[in-house]
Symmetry: C2
Subunit: 348 residues, 2 copies
């Protein structure tokens, strides 16, 4: 039998812990390292933090110094879940790739890093090829629902006139970083100011999704526009992390528009909020493709964001290990598939 | 600028003509050959048959002798739409591949040929590699709705308990071969007899879809079962090709069951009929994945079968040309995407 697939976790927030727990349930993985800066986690055993049974495949101490963990070919893949932005994860990706370790990251901008950071992307591609590894950013969105899945559906189309995608989702499953990026709990004025001074990122992903559309369709949008509006709570909305009182911001409604030859070609609607069901708002993913044929797809409720993100990252591990070296996007690799059996049998 | 992507069409029934017309609307393609055995088509110019404008990229005579058309590297790809079964298209595929031409076929069994013809598949893989070409079978189903799309959706799942897929569709867009395979227009007794003596194939695809599930999930079903029941017309159902009187067979309801460890893991329901809307039956594609998270997807009406099949075949042309040599399935290649711009720019 082949050796276990060796994994290092870098970042143990909600996404990192989700990936770690999922890996603990699967066959053929060994977690050989875990990194986090949070003093309340450092020094603990990973299985203690996760509250799972101790096995020989999860018996590692959480350290705060990457150099003690990320050593030359210490693992087959490192899963980086530390930040949303390419510039923030780039040094971590570089560090791991130069040690001959493949990288998968939840960082939203890394789902299509060329969109905002073409030079860093070029650099990561060179580093990956030089070290014989591949690098992938993915997640539920960007990475799947509002881009990849839509593009795959156009694969059965003779022609596409325009595309409308809407994802109405609950943020309660995400961590503190996402809550802050969305302005959850602010006043309306603070939200508007935050959008103006860029302290409220909102959904990090439209620019990356548009980039993925451009590459897949081999076109250039002549204009991309985005708007962000606050979603105000009318009742108290409570999650394990936050409590939003009526009159405060419960979410961010983000719209994205991509124009081709002056016509709206891709429209994205993404109202993200905590616990919409407390105000009887139903959630779902909606994809409408006008063209030949028409496609009119609904998935209700929405594919849950938290588990969707950590699951796709873990499920892509075999494809990333099997891939030719380089900086990859979901467009370069075969479709993700749930890992049900022993992951070692999926490695070529 | 690169040379046009050169295509040969082999088989000019509804699917072949659909592919040809679609190609005529796209930029960067040249149709360099067309083959069909139907005496009413042989000798005609392709653009006459298609009733499209004559251009330098579709000005070919339809011939019945493949040897006059399929010459050494005469094209980048040949699109074979002549039959449903691997054994029937195998000699044609071999002939084209040995001339150094990539192959895409609508033949349903070729979407996962290993399921029924492992030796021919091995043989095609060897031939493809020897000649530096790739071979792909695809279509709306098998090839996309009831297998590939379902598998891609499991890519965001931490775990999958079971899967139910239903495709309720209209057959009116398909050709004569499909109508006969489904027993359209027969009496109930003729249908039942036809199922027993295998003259009614029904939907050709469940075995291939199950095979694709097995490979993607790296599992073996311990039992696969299928049933076929007639759908009887209560009113007259008319299409350009057939007219089904009340009391006669308007379609075939096929069910498929794949068991793992004695439990039903994948259930497929596929009632295929001509013009269900004439009896107020609504059509659609329905995918339910029980697991973490749950997925509950509806696409209504169903993705149209005819255009879906020929579109995905054409849209996969760049991936097949760019692929490493060998016999491929949809699981081996990146997602299909609608070709909107000049196809030459998609060739690496």
């Amino acid at each position: 039998m082949k050796e276990n697939v060796k994994v290092i976790l870098w970042g143990l927030g909600l996404m990192g812990q989700g990936m770690a727990k999922m890996i603990c349930k699967k066959r053929g993985f060994s977690i050989v390292g875990a990194i986090d800066l949070d003093p309340s986690k450092v020094g603990k055993k990973l299985y203690e933090l996760l509250e799972v049974e101790r096995t020989e495949n999860n018996d590692v101490v959480i350290l705060d110094n990457p150099e003690e963990v990320i050593k030359e070919k210490a693992a087959d893949v490192v899963l980086i879940a530390t930040a949303s932005f390419t510039k923030a994860v780039y040094p971590q990706i570089k560090f791991a790739a130069e040690k001959g370790i493949n990288v998968i990251t939840t960082a939203e901008e890394m789902s299509y890093p060329k969109a905002l950071d073409p030079e860093l992307s070029e650099d990561m591609d060179i580093i990956a090829k030089k070290n014989g590894v591949s690098i992938l950013g993915t997640g539920i969105n960007p990475g799947f629902v509002m881009d990849y899945l839509v593009l795959a559906l156009t694969g059965v189309c003779e022609d596409v006139e325009n595309i409308r995608v809407s994802r109405v989702n609950d943020l309660a499953c995400f961590g503190k970083a996402v809550m802050e990026e969305q302005g959850i709990g602010l006043t309306k004025e603070e939200f508007v100011e935050g959008v103006e001074n860029d302290s409220i990122a909102g959904h990090v992903g439209f620019i990356q999704s548009f980039g993925m559309f451009e590459e897949a369709f081999n076109l250039k949008f002549d204009k991309i526009a985005q708007t962000k509006e606050p979603i105000m709570a009318n009742v108290e909305r409570v999650t394990p992390l936050v409590s939003v009182k009526p009159g405060y911001v419960a979410g961010c409604k983000q719209m994205g528009y991509g124009y081709v030859n002056g016509e709206l070609f891709v429209e994205m609607e993404h109202p993200q909020q905590v616990r919409p069901e407390m105000e009887n708002l139903s959630t779902g993913d909606y994809i409408t493709i006008k063209g030949t044929p028409e496609i009119n797809l609904k998935n209700t409720p929405e594919i849950a964001g938290g588990v969707g993100t950590y699951a796709i990252c873990v499920n892509m591990i075999p494809h990333v290990i099997n891939s030719t070296p380089g900086l990859k996007t979901m467009l370069d690799l075969p479709i993700p598939v749930a890992i049900l059996g022993d992951v070692r049998e999926l490695i070529k």
